[in-house]
């Protein structure tokens, strides 16, 4: 995503928030008569609900297309999936898929706009945008700040979207986690990749704590969750050593006692719930932008 677009969308989200999320709906009905379909090929509650709310606040009709258990599953060619989706005659498709690249390939094939709501290990662009927004609100800038992302970087789409977003806006990024879960081959002058958490936290302005995805067994190369917590968990002790100015974020849902301690959650509760609110604002900005209404707010 180019810098100008990220800035537009974050500005859009800020304007939405300034007006009040629900206020837009009553005053403008910006997307009245337009239809948004949530097409989630993988379970999601936060992102799906967030897109649904965003669409409804803008006055759009939101349809949740049930895909789990339907024929839009294993074995159907992407062409056939496209035909089904186009037959639904919608204005915008919001797609979540467990395989990297599926939203991109569908977007090339359909004539209506597609928003990627997370694909495989690839990207989760609206999550990246809302994290940028959250840090921007707290610190007033992104340029020159230092973001630390902790966790299973290799299998995280959130890590990638945060990484590209923050780097594009001039931040420094450190990726930290177990060496077998770190990318081996990324190079950027403002990017550092390290297994040493204490080291990484020294310069942090914000810390993104990734969810440990137990269901993906991405920690197969590690002895135990306790061992993970001992080396990479944001424990109470580690959090206390961070200055009060350091933001601690988590895309949720949290595994308390693994990647983040309950006590830390208490300290950061407001921050993490702000991430959820910002998620709706960012998705409103994104929907408005793809449907051509970005400048009307």
């Amino acid at each position: 995503m180019p810098r100008a677009l990220i800035e537009d969308l974050v500005d859009g989200a800020l304007r939405v928030k300034a007006e009040g999320l629900g206020a837009v709906r009553s005053r403008r009905q910006a997307l009245a008569g337009r239809s948004v379909v949530n097409c989630f090929f993988e379970p999601s509650t936060r992102t799906k609900t967030s897109f649904e709310l965003a669409g409804k606040y803008l006055g759009a009709d939101v349809v949740n297309f049930q895909t789990r258990g339907s024929s839009l599953e294993k074995g159907e060619t992407l062409e056939d999936t496209v035909r089904t989706l186009e037959a639904l005659a919608l204005d915008v498709l919001v797609i979540r898929h467990a395989v990297s690249g599926v939203p991109e390939r569908l977007a090339q094939a359909v004539t209506i706009p597609v928003i990627n709501a997370g694909d495989g290990f690839h990207e989760h662009p609206t999550q990246g945008l809302l994290d940028v927004l959250t840090v921007y609100e707290a610190r007033g800038r992104i340029d020159g700040l230092h973001l630390v992302i902790v966790g299973d970087i290799l299998h995280s789409r959130v890590a990638r979207s945060d990484l590209w977003g923050f780097l594009t806006l001039g931040a420094y990024v450190t990726l930290v986690g177990p060496p077998q879960l770190l990318p081996s081959a990324w190079h950027h002058e403002r990017l550092r990749v390290t297994p040493y958490l204490a080291d990484a936290l020294k310069e942090a302005d914000a810390v993104q704590v990734l969810r440990i995805q137990k269901e993906r067994q991405s920690l197969a190369g590690l002895p135990s969750w306790e061992e993970y917590r001992a080396q990479w968990g944001i424990t109470r002790e580690r959090a206390e050593q961070l200055g009060d100015h350091v933001l601690i974020m988590h895309p949720g849902p949290q595994n308390r006692g693994v990647e983040i301690d309950s006590e830390v959650m208490m300290r950061t509760a407001s921050q993490i719930s702000r991430q959820v609110t910002n998620g709706v604002a960012v998705r409103m900005a994104a929907l408005s932008w793809v449907l051509g209404g970005a400048d009307e707010h």
Binding site: E76, R105, H122, R160, A185
Partner: protein
């Protein structure tokens, strides 16, 4: 063969590149009567039409020793017939089909069936490869000797590795008594978790990657077992720098180890992902590797560490390749770009002589498969390919005779093209058109 001399052709002014005899003659006249080469001054030749071969190369017995013809069992992807047509179209006169069909070619009866299919079709010589283990399950050896007696020329569980070291040891030592080579698809499955090469591009695209080590740890194991047993080992589709080190080591120790590369690993690196993105046309096993590895493979062919260039022709139906990157099957349809791909990768940039590249498409596979062929000499079967070395052409899979149109070389310009193929004195392809009307059986 008929005793009456009824068919023949003269080819004039052609450059004969014959790796079997190490002959590269600039302009030669030669003749073919009733399926075999004859002396150029054979008086009977004058009865037959002459073909102007100036500007063309004549190469005998190009064999693609790694193809998947999908029959029996997966005929929506390819059949023996379409596979043989693809071979003729690509300028190939012999093929060694891999046994990972449904069912697996693991009995002498299936080996006979393959040979008979090849003879009936009459377009290309078929040298079957039998499975190493029963149903290629990696549990117990198949009847290697009985398959060998019926014409299997090597053994492989290709598509998957022989994972058990004990079984690999047995296979190598047992097959050495015929003798025949064991061809391994080296892949440590516990390391090979990905769909493409582990590297910057895969990681950016969020596609799980497989490191080169997944191949190399097994190539090193195989080399050590080849040393232990004295068996004949051939490593299929080598794609890693450490594998090359293992093969070099084996050769310095005089182990009986040979190796092959594919044109797609010589022509493309994982940078192809940047162009094709999530289109699984690039999904192949082993994956397209880094630019540095591609360079190392090219130089390994030049240095003689690599004995064979083979296509690993793996046709799939378009519907299968139109699935997500996760679900789509591995493989590239490669028979029709084998010869041109090898020339483009190695001769066009001036890295190797035509003779040395052609050796890896002819004498190289003959040696691995234990085949004998005397070269372009009177009495030898007239199996040959005419190549126009200057022809530049764009790969258009719609022109393929194979059912599989899946290739990331699509749209690429290749330099050099097979313009005619002859098997046993009969044209099987002229100017890009496969000639399979009224062919009698091969023998």
């Amino acid at each position: 063969m008929s005793t009456e001399r009824t068919t023949g052709v003269r080819i004039r002014g052609v450059r004969v590149i014959d790796p079997f005899r190490d002959v590269d003659s600039l302009e030669e006249d030669l003749g073919i009567i009733d399926g075999v080469f004859v002396r150029a001054d054979d008086p009977e030749l004058m009865r037959f039409p002459a073909l102007d071969g100036r500007g063309l190369w004549l190469v005998p017995r190009i064999v693609d020793m790694h193809v998947h013809f999908r029959e029996p069992g997966q005929t929506w992807k390819e059949t023996f017939h379409t596979g043989c047509r693809a071979a003729a179209h690509g300028g190939v006169t012999g093929v060694a089909p891999m046994p990972n069909t449904t069912p697996v070619i693991d009995t002498p009866e299936w080996v006979e069936w393959e040979i008979q299919r090849g003879r009936d079709i009459g377009l290309v010589r078929v040298f079957p490869i039998g499975a190493v283990t029963q149903q290629s399950r990696g549990e117990a050896l198949a009847e290697l000797f009985r398959m060998y007696q019926k014409g299997a020329r090597a053994f492989s569980d290709d598509g998957r590795p022989v994972t058990s070291s004990a079984l690999m040891r047995s296979a190598l030592s047992y097959a050495a008594t015929f003798p025949a080579a064991v061809i391994n698809h080296a892949e440590d499955l516990s390391l090979a978790a990905g769909w493409c090469n582990e590297g910057a591009l895969a990681q950016q695209l969020g596609l799980p990657g497989t490191p080169e080590a997944a191949e190399a740890v097994m190539v090193w194991r195989d080399v050590i077992l080849a040393g232990l047993t004295g068996g004949r080992l051939h490593e299929a589709h080598v794609s890693s720098i450490e594998s090359l080190n293992a093969i070099r080591y084996a050769k310095t120790q005089n182990f009986r180890v040979t190796a092959e590369v594919t044109p797609h690993h010589l022509l493309l690196s994982d940078e192809a992902l940047a162009r094709w993105r999530y289109d699984p046309v690039t999904k192949v096993n082993p994956p397209l590797r880094s630019a540095a590895t591609r360079e190392a493979l090219l130089h390994a062919v030049k240095a003689g560490d690599i004995d064979v260039i083979a296509s690993d022709h793996a046709p799939h139906h378009a519907d299968e390749k139109n699935l997500s990157y996760a679900e789509a099957p591995y493989g590239i349809s490669g028979l029709e770009t084998l010869v041109a791909g090898a020339l483009t990768a190695l001769v066009d940039p001036g890295l190797m002589s035509p003779m040395e590249v052609m050796r890896r498409l002819t004498a190289g596979p003959h040696r691995v498969l234990g085949l004998t062929y005397p070269g372009v000499v009177p009495g030898a079967a007239a199996d040959l390919t005419l190549i126009d070395p200057r022809q530049r052409w764009r790969v258009d899979p719609a022109q393929f005779y194979s059912k599989g149109r899946n290739t990331p070389l699509a749209g690429m310009t290749l330099v050099g093209q097979a313009v005619a193929t002859m098997v046993q004195g009969r044209w099987t392809m002229r100017d890009g058109e496969v000639l399979d009307e009224g062919l009698s059986n091969l023998h």
